[in-house]
């Protein structure tokens, strides 16, 4: 799995609504977009479609078109996705740390100033 796949999976799963949608689809062989939207009374059809598109681009669900209906199912190759998701969650944190440290040294500020502030 390439790093860009991992990023897409992380972005897809970092949203609680998308996790819930994925979980719901996983409970069925296949679900139509309308059936998915019916489960979430606070979400409109357009919002559901956009969540489904992100899940599909991350390779987590596949789409089957049948006339004007779209049906979704969970893509088989799953174990990797959970691992990629967890990897990205931690990696994301360290990347942010690295860029914060870099920004601080570029600004000529010792990052530890911040740590001293907290104990003050």
């Amino acid at each position: 799995m390439s790093p860009s796949d991992s990023d897409a999976i992380f972005s897809a799963l970092a949203d609680p609504t998308r996790r819930a949608i994925l979980s719901l689809i996983g409970e069925h062989e296949e679900l139509a977009a309308g059936e998915i939207a019916a489960h979430f009374d606070t979400l409109g059809r357009t919002a559901v479609s956009s969540h489904l598109r992100i899940l599909r681009l991350a390779g987590l669900v596949s789409e089957r078109r049948d006339g004007r209906f779209r049906h979704y199912s969970v893509t088989p190759t799953p174990a990797d996705a959970v691992v990629a998701f967890l990897t990205s969650v931690y990696q994301n944190s360290l990347e942010q740390l690295a860029s914060a440290v870099q920004d601080a040294s570029a600004a000529g500020e010792a990052p530890s100033d911040r740590a001293e502030e907290r104990s003050a």
Binding site: L13, A14, D15, P16, T17, R19, A20, L22, S23, L24, I25, G26, E27, H39, F40, L60, V74, P78, A79, A81, V82, V83, F85, L86, T87, V89, Y90, Q91, N92, S93, L94, E95, Q96, L97, A98, A100, V101, Q102, S105, A110, P111, S112, R114, A115, E116, R118
Partner: protein
Amino acid sequence: MGELVLNNETQLAVGPSELFALFGSGDPSLGWLFGAEAPRLRPGSLVRLALPLGGLARSPGTARVLSYQPNRRIDLIHETPWAGRVVCRFDPLDTGGTRLRVRITIDDGEVARLGAELGLLDGYEAGLRQVPLGLLISLSGAAGILGRSTVNCAQLAVKEINADGGVMGRNVRLVVADDATDPGVGAIAMRRLSRTPGLAAVVGMHSSATYAVTAPMAVAEGIPYLYTPTSEPTAPHPLLVRFGETPLDQLHRALPRMAAQTGGSRWFLAGNDYSWPRAIGATARAVIERMGGHVAGEGYLPLGSQTFEPVLAAIQRSGVDHVVSSFVGQDHVCFQRDFAAHGLRESIRTFAPLMDDAVVEHLGESGEGTWNALGYFVALDTSENREFLRRYADRFGSCSPPVSAAAEGVYEAIHTWARSCRAGGGTDPTALLSGLRKSSFKGPRRCARGGRLESLLLGEATASGVRVLDELPAATQAS
């Protein structure tokens, strides 16, 4: 059991001691791991996390310091929203910088649970000759930060039951599902649990908003549902067995006691906006009016609120002597901290029906003086409780999350379930329900047959835990 190991490595332009000092500052720009909130770095101390898993908002989580060597190594136990181990190593580089290596270990069972919850893995395979027992709890979302000790207590109960020969000669297997503090996710989790082959019952420790959705599902599927948290009464059904404190249990003696101590009569009712906090509000109003007090204002905010400003301002304006605060989980922690930061703690006493030992750990000094009445606090001084706490520490070590009333309630409910199955002669609903009427479990709390609570403890938060002030009768026991 196997485990998933993830290794991360990055090189940073600051020395190990500077980098080490950054850990735990609570500054989110340092990333969720190093930017965690860890005011004290010592073995067993709590680390509060803000993970990037809540869409636009941050999602709360918890970890705990297992050990550390200054400027060399930090070893953490990740507790929620999933369990794992995180070891950070700091190696000096010739350039004056640091090579930071982070090793994450997550056991296969936890990966399977996460996979199953995402709909990706079939994590709940049937074990031969085992009795699956569902545990529906919050491990993520607002209430998730308090979830790990509940899983621990459930595992402890199951281990003790199995060591004692299991139930009807079969070992019990715990199947854990997370409702993410959300009724919609709770419904999906409940459906998944109910499809587990041979599922004997579900033990529920989650909000009553989830219960309103999942209880009818359990009834429709014929699955006994043992609901353990403090909660408002709902329509009874033989399959729905309730263990928790009711609002009247918690408030009927404690609020008059608080008013007698302060000499004040004005109250503000605040909480999250769903059925349980509303029920607390209605019951509190009745109790307050009956004792001649006055409700000067009410304020409710949605679960997962980021700011409490409107309610705090209303409290400040109202000139009350007391607040009944029924916020939940992370909201409870943030509200109480903001309340203290506004200087309201000095003049206003708080009664918080969800304040327990786990919440107090998150609150620290900002919770001091808050009262609550629950069936259990860690400080309960009985031989049963000392024995229970010793077994918990033996099983999970000294760096484990503190037992909460919620967690201990699940421990008792699972033991009561096992006793009842044995007394009734089976794990099917009929046997369980007949067994419940004739068996009891003598655990730390004061329960009658079937787990019905007989008395509550009045507790006060201190910076280091909950102090027990008195024992009060449950409402149903009071004359």
